[in-house]
Symmetry: D2
């Protein structure tokens, strides 16, 4: 499918998938992304010890192994809630040791990476930083896997080229995450480009997951889109769940409640199984 | 969810869903769209008697009841293949009587509607005509169900407002079809807005389906997105299938082969079943 | 510059500009579009005799020769003001005979074209109808010049291909009008693509004008963008002016008041002159 | 005009324009941006001593006081030319001392800022870094003026919010630069949103300029759009000029030749004068 791309293939020589069976999976303490259907869940931002522990309980009870939570929440407006920073990182460390969850959290700046990497199992580079080349290079020298979100107006090709920066700097453990692109539609916060994720997956050996919570921004629509993702054959989803969405300090309108999340997880597993078998036969 | 919309609800008073159980289904000779998961399939354009009959055989053999085929193919460039027109319509009539399939075909112009309606069971208004108000009004006076495609840069709200024109003119049998919106991404022809379809479905009582073939424009990605649609809970899909995609006169690169289509149909049914049961329990 | 286009040049063989001096101008009763800088002005929609006559007085007093006014106003919502239709057409005829203005008004449907062409000097095909091929073909058989607006999500190439339909049907008098494209920006109604108009102009022999009023939707910004258009070297502007914008029945927020319009017109002429001399020397 | 914005005005309290006369201008060694029409010109990237000196000669000979040149060129693909880095910075220092030009150059990373600030008179934060909050905060503590480019998919409001970060950190000398937004149009690299620049200017006291070279990506169209910008009343333009565009290592297709640039500069001054007087009388 690479023939559709305008640039020569050399700009993607490390991320490119060379044959149908060429797939990379990322394993963190025995659990993997890229082999089976991965679920990463947790609150948008770490707000308090109580919120964090209750979210971790919900996630653990569903058999989910990867916990997401922002210790620092980049915001378009300086005046919005920005996260707990150091205290947030400390709480994520507590979740890690108490529940044994694998921690996925964002890194905003090259200088902060070492401190975050002490707690995080997977370092997330957010959509606003997909073109932050100094950060991509530092991430490329880290021993931690990187979850690279697609920029909100990045093409699939540019997203893969950003991953190429990380691989070229020495880190081959990269998970790609589609989180919605910016369009004229205003009913959803962004437009989930599931087709873009499917196209990315067929062109790279790296795992590709989607984040319906950030893409859509409306909790009521998240289960439908998570089910869609599971059936599409992508490698996983990242979902926001909050013990009390109505009182969340950021993005509460897109977080699932514990009940909604508990209902959804087994459905995703069934759909992913069915879809996985479908792909084998097609 | 209507509260997210900027205009007052009165502009959508006929299409609006008033309660969770308020759902309309369209029935054509015993088969329905909007009750269960509907599959509409066939070639992009009717090209020849042989192509048409072979496509109808494939569709029928899979238990699919709705056959799509363009008798006239609107094209951005005047110099591209434009369809067989009258001869195409005659061939669709033959498919209808020989295979008992329900015919879905496009109507481009108010003047042509009566002739098309003699053969077609469902009249499709294409994305380029979503804002063609005279055509919407004539469609609203027709006895045939209308399949209304979303304009390629229409918001969900504008799409529902276009449906409101049809209902207001007297025709309550409208199926909405999302077929990709125009974005900056170039790897796919358009961006399938599955979230937009889900949001539309939760705001209207009319059935909402998606057309992954036109949205993506790459046959390899169509099964993944059709499976996604089935799992998302929308009311159906419209899929292009061609007896020999490599020799199609229009859009061959997006049509499934008979083998691909035969593998896909049972998967869609399983996924839609699973998703339907999931929705009941959520 | 045609080399940048993906399709072969044959899809634009009639609209293509073959040499730097290859330019077409449209002349209506001694006044032209495409030779010098044309100004078309008037209200968005004809609302009443009084409004129409007062607008025509303002336009005439500024030495402007082309009067725009919608006798029928296509609206996304059926419930918005839709224009006066037949009565509007009659009032435009009165403006034509009383003030000697050249009338530019929209035609929505092939069937209505003959009636509109009896009053209108220039027939406008709106952005919602740029892909309405039956209408383009009927327009191509008319003796009236056609003003073809760019679709709100049409590429420049598609816009020129739509013009090709008109020329191919026999009408070589086409003016192209850019009126804003749909983007994610919400502060303006659409995004005026002045660069697209400039690119269109360098690739076709047809005149290219812009409509800043519809593009921006905010009257305060219209003079700045009209001045920009005049300086860019495009062939003209279409501007909304209303005797009392605050009481307009449609799009009042984007119409200039008589005072604003009177101040703007001489500025546009000076800037266009200066820019025209600049082009000669570059 | 702020009433059109969705958020409360507090998120923009430092950048907001409070009254018609509330305007900030940035002065660098006696020359200003924000008072009169500013021209910033130079090559996309510093490639060699010879290229740099010849470009500086052309710029100086036209009476232009601000010289742009990238010492480091961020690129979507790692494999494209990335700039001379330290050597580029040294050459810019030489241009500064030899020609007395004010240097505008990009800073990619918070760590690099002090070194760049030793040579640069104005620090540019590129579109890919508009959401790089750590960099915005470091820029806010710098004594140098900041030229903040709009992100390629940022709304005008988000762009102003990014400037708010810089002002809040203590640096009130910010110039805003529109450089094209990402849309579906493919004939130009991006879509120059001149209306967005005009809207920004009417809502902030900071100077607002535009960069037609990056926005359009086609040198032939740059003079027309620069003239448009001058007539629109924005505070300046940033233009690429290269002594030999056909041999440029990056973005040569969008750079003006010395002859084109020499013809353009006096036109821009005339148009800006004319437009300035027009604004006073409106």
């Amino acid at each position: 499918m690479l023939a559709r791309w305008e640039t020569n293939g050399d700009s993607l020589k490390l991320v490119r998938r060379d044959s149908p069976g060429h797939r990379t999976s990322i394993t963190v303490r025995g659990d993997s992304i890229g082999c089976g259907f991965a679920i990463i869940a947790g609150p948008c931002a770490v707000e308090s010890r109580d919120q964090d522990m209750r979210a971790a309980e919900v996630v653990t009870a569903c058999g989910v192994k990867f916990f997401r939570g922002g210790e620092f929440k980049p915001r378009t407006s300086h005046y919005a809630f920005q996260g707990l920073r150091d205290e947030g990182l400390r709480l994520l460390g507590e979740v890690r040791s108490k529940f044994g969850l694998r921690i996925v959290t964002g890194v905003m700046d090259a200088e902060l990476l070492p401190a975050v990497a002490e707690v995080a199992d997977v370092l997330q580079i957010g959509s606003r930083n997909m073109h932050n080349y100094p950060l991509l290079e530092v991430a490329g020298r880290s021993a931690r896997p990187i979850l690279l979100k697609r920029g909100m107006s990045a093409t699939v090709q540019e997203w893969l080229q950003a991953a190429e920066y990380v691989l070229l700097a020495g880190n081959a453990q990269v998970v790609l995450c589609e989180r919605g692109i910016r369009t004229f539609e205003t009913m959803t916060r962004n437009t989930l480009d599931l087709a873009g994720a499917v196209m990315a997956q067929s062109n790279t050996h790296l795992p590709v997951i989607v984040d319906p919570s950030h893409a859509v921004g409306v909790a009521d629509a998240v289960p439908a889109l998570a089910r869609a993702a599971a059936a599409s054959g992508v490698d996983g989803v990242m979902i926001e769940v909050h013990p009390a969405p109505e009182s969340a300090l950021s993005d509460g309108q897109q977080a699932l409640s514990p009940e909604e999340f508990r209902a959804l997880v087994p459905q995703l597993r069934q759909l992913a199984d069915l879809s996985g078998r479908a792909k084998e036969h097609s």
